[in-house]
């Protein structure tokens, strides 16, 4: 930790959060909100004179309320930066009449109540997301009575109690009588591996954390009676089995089965009823203290960061990697990498390993100082452009410039263009070519698919980042769905031009699905809102023409929603079966007439 504080190349912003990002891989501009600390961290020597005079006493969050601190405090003794901080909501105020005692006490004049929150913009080439975790709140698991009985502790509270730097200097005591417990029980999988409450996944660290706890206790108090209630002990890491065995050898009692109820006895010790699933017998254990081995959840900031950076989450709420085996630290967005529990529950060793991997991946991207851009960008055909400005309006990246008044043709900045293709889909004059996803390339795919027995097929447009990835996820999970589904991949659902849909219906498609990322999760900022608008528009036109609107569906399917992808495909199949041969023939007729009519009016316009 201190290495970070001293490192000449590392600029540390504490009390800070990312609030906005602009730019693209290799050249991001990130906006950081730095909250006021009210203490000059470069000047503060952590002498502690301010603390002595501060009259406000509050529970210490770092010790989970097991001790108290003042309104001006240092988070913990080894904190980096080693500087005090004022919780301004607790502080009585800087008005000398009210308090301001700390200002008087500080010889170095570090305390400044005029500090305000700052917005800082930094330019970076790559980003490592290492937002960590939050522990599970066991309140909802009433059977363990965490909120009712004081001698039921969480594993994190236990950590603070056995920590030499903690509120008891490492002496384990019961909260109720401050005496050392003679017996301690650990309950595993609290908030993990449950279909009922908490998470369904394994939190990965709790087994070994408990094993470690038992070893620490046995080291300090060899006579202590220790019991561990578990489903399985997962000691799969290097050296882990040895620790587990050592714990058993030292006399720690491992019991397979989780407690059903916890009751408090008059002396405040706990009576735990558990079915031992080895013997199939109900056992009652009397324990002085119970420790709940809490599972891991994604950090609370995950969702907001996911929105700011345009990332994807798994159904568990952790960040989704580009590929679980081959790109386990890359985000699907180029230039963004994951490290630690942000990507999934993991222990310290794994976090360190992944962090080094993420750093190496970032270095691989940045080392030669240049970035190769994908040429999948749009371009304007100047001769066809009528300078209407629609493309510039829809571009999420402001990559298109067009002077509507001077009637100069639009131009695309290829560096800023991310390649969603929304402009090409929205251009009323077909004046924009989306490279690698041109109109003709896509229409060719539609036509090839509908050449033979179109009535039996389901045409699906899927965006690369969410829906196509969701279909891949269904595949990896072997989730079965009707085999008459055919996907056409576009980078963004915003690329799906109205004319692809009309072409599909004209070639005999019974049903068409357009699918993309959920609103707010679009990989191209908000390009999919144009998809939404466009489909609504097409639905209106279909209504006017007398084509059933149910035949064109729009669904948002994320990369993690493999199950939902399969469900949507089932639903499409049901819809398809409702479409008759006559209905398809009628639609084809309607669309042909519409085309002829359009052709005639165009000729008329040309003559006029």
């Amino acid at each position: 930790m201190t290495d970070v504080g001293r490192h000449p190349r590392i600029k540390l912003y504490t009390m800070s959060e990312l609030v906005d990002i602009k730019g693209y891989v290799g050249n991001f501009d990130v906006k950081i909100l730095k909250k006021a600390r009210y203490v000059d961290e470069t000047e503060c020597t952590s002498c502690g004179d301010c603390v002595d005079v501060c009259p406000v006493v509050r529970p210490d969050k770092f010790n989970l309320g097991l001790s108290s601190r003042k309104a001006i405090f240092v988070p913990f003794p080894q904190a980096v930066p080693s500087a005090y901080v004022i919780n301004v909501n607790e502080c009585l105020g800087h008005n000398p009449v009210v308090c301001a005692k700390c200002i008087e006490a500080c010889d170095k004049d570090c305390i400044n109540f005029h500090m305000s929150d700052e917005e800082i913009v930094e330019s970076v080439g790559s980003i490592v997301v290492a937002t960590g975790l939050e522990v599970y709140d066991p309140t909802e698991l009433d059977e363990y009575a965490y909120t009712r009985f004081e001698n039921v502790l969480t594993s994190l509270e236990f950590e603070r109690l056995i920590n030499a730097g903690g509120p008891t200097q490492g002496e384990l005591i019961r909260p109720t009588d401050r005496k050392r417990p003679k017996s301690v029980g650990f309950v595993q999988c609290v908030g993990s591996r449950s279909a009922r409450k908490g998470a369904s996944y394994c939190s990965n660290i709790c087994c070994m954390n408990t094993v470690k706890g038992t070893l620490m206790l046995k080291e300090h108090y060899p006579d202590m009676d220790i019991k561990v209630f578990y489903i399985d002990i997962r000691a799969s890491g290097k050296g882990f089995e040895d620790l587990y065995r050592r714990s058993q050898r030292l006399g720690v009692h491992y019991l397979r089965g989780l407690p059903g109820t916890v009751e408090e006895m008059p002396d405040r010790s706990l009576r735990v009823a558990v079915e031992n699933t080895v013997t199939s017998k109900l056992e009652i254990h009397e324990l002085d203290m119970l420790v709940l081995a809490l599972g891991i959840k994604p950090a609370p900031s995950t969702q907001r960061l996911q929105e700011i950076l345009g990332l994807q989450l798994t159904s568990d709420g952790f960040f989704l990697e580009a590929h679980p085996k081959l790109q386990p630290v890359d985000a699907a967005t180029r230039g963004i990498f994951y490290a630690g529990c942000a990507e999934g529950p993991k222990d310290i060793k794994e976090s360190v390993t992944q962090a080094s991997a993420a750093a190496a991946r970032a270095i691989r991207l940045m080392h030669d100082g240049t970035i190769t851009t994908e040429p999948i960008t749009s371009q304007v055909i100047p001769g066809k452009c009528k300078s209407c400005g629609k493309c510039a309006e829809v571009c999420p990246y402001n990559a298109i410039t067009v002077d509507v008044k001077k009637k100069t043709p639009a131009t695309v900045s290829t560096a800023a263009c991310a390649g969603c293709g929304t402009c090409a889909a929205e251009c009323p004059f077909d004046a924009i070519i989306m490279n690698h996803f041109t109109d003709t390339q896509i229409i060719n795919q539609v036509d090839a698919l509908l050449e033979d027995r179109p009535k039996e097929k389901i045409l699906v447009f899927a965006c690369n980042w969410c829906s196509y990835a969701g279909a891949d996820f269904a595949g990896v999970s072997r989730i079965q769905y009707p085999p008459n589904v055919r996907l056409i991949r576009t980078m963004c659902s915003g690329r799906v031009d109205e004319k692809f849909i009309w072409d599909g219906f004209e070639k005999g498609a019974p049903v068409i699905l357009v699918s993309g990322c959920h609103i707010g999760d679009c990989h191209y900022i908000d390009a999919n809102q144009w998809t939404d608008k466009r489909i609504k528009k097409v639905h209106k036109k279909m209504e006017k023409l007398g084509i059933r609107t149910e035949r064109l569906q729009l669904e948002w399917i994320s990369a993690a929603e493999g199950v939902r992808f399969a469900q949507v495909m089932q639903r499409m199949e049901t819809l398809r079966q409702d479409v008759t041969t006559e209905e398809i023939a009628e639609t084809i007729q309607i669309l042909k007439e519409r085309k002829q009519e359009k052709g005639r009016s165009k000729k008329r316009d040309d003559i006029l």
Partner: protein
């Protein structure tokens, strides 16, 4: 000017007769146990502009790639369709292969026969084979219209942002910093250290966490 150049290229390429090679990958048994790869390859060989159509045990393997590269030279292929797994997985691999064979990497098209066919229609072999045939046909029809694209090199900011100052963020920041890159480390709380700082000894070494 560059824009029109590419457009011209598109027209030029469309007038030329494309020479397409199709490779239907077995992926060991991942695809082949559900999809009749030989049949798919045979049916693809009847499609317009398809010069070579083969099935191949592992297209992504070294010998698999070599076979495709050899064909590119021998048959003068100018478009390649690889019908294997998801392009989200191996598109970069096969684009690199095209580069090595002196073809523009954007003249590649993939058909997803594994994640979106064999794995999701395991018990419907005929329907899966039919779907695979369609997916290859669609890929070929798109491949006909592919044209070369040029990648561009842009300057890059050699700095990294690390969000979160727990053990993972600390390690990433130090590795980046020690490798000569400037790092901006953003931490929400008043100190770095994260959850790790709250722990006492840590497994497997049972030493201090801080």
């Amino acid at each position: 000017m560059m824009e029109t150049n590419v457009l011209v290229k598109e027209y030029v390429n469309m007038k030329e007769e494309p020479r397409i090679g199709v490779y239907v990958c077995h992926c060991g048994l991942n695809i082949a146990q559900t999809v009749d790869c030989e049949k798919v390859a045979e049916l693809a060989s009847y499609l317009d502009h398809v010069v070579v159509s083969k099935n191949i045990i592992y297209a992504c393997s070294e010998p698999g790639q070599q076979e495709i590269k050899d064909d590119i030279f021998e048959h003068g292929l100018d478009r390649v369709v690889v019908a294997s797994c998801s392009p989200r997985l191996h598109e970069p691999t096969f684009r690199q292969m095209l580069k090595e064979a002196d073809l523009n990497p954007y003249l590649l098209e993939m058909a997803n026969l594994r994640e979106q066919c064999s794995w999701v229609h395991i018990k419907e072999k005929d329907a899966a084979t039919e779907k695979a045939t369609d997916l290859v046909k669609m890929a070929v029809s798109r491949a006909r219209l592919l044209y070369p694209l040029q990648e561009e090199k842009l300057p890059l900011t050699k700095r990294a942002l690390v969000i979160g100052g727990g053990i993972a963020g600390i390690q990433a920041a130090l590795d980046l910093g020690d490798s000569g890159f400037d790092v901006v480390l953003v931490e929400k709380r008043p100190s770095i250290g994260g959850t790790m700082a709250q722990l006492d000894k840590t497994f497997p070494t049972m030493d201090c966490s801080i």
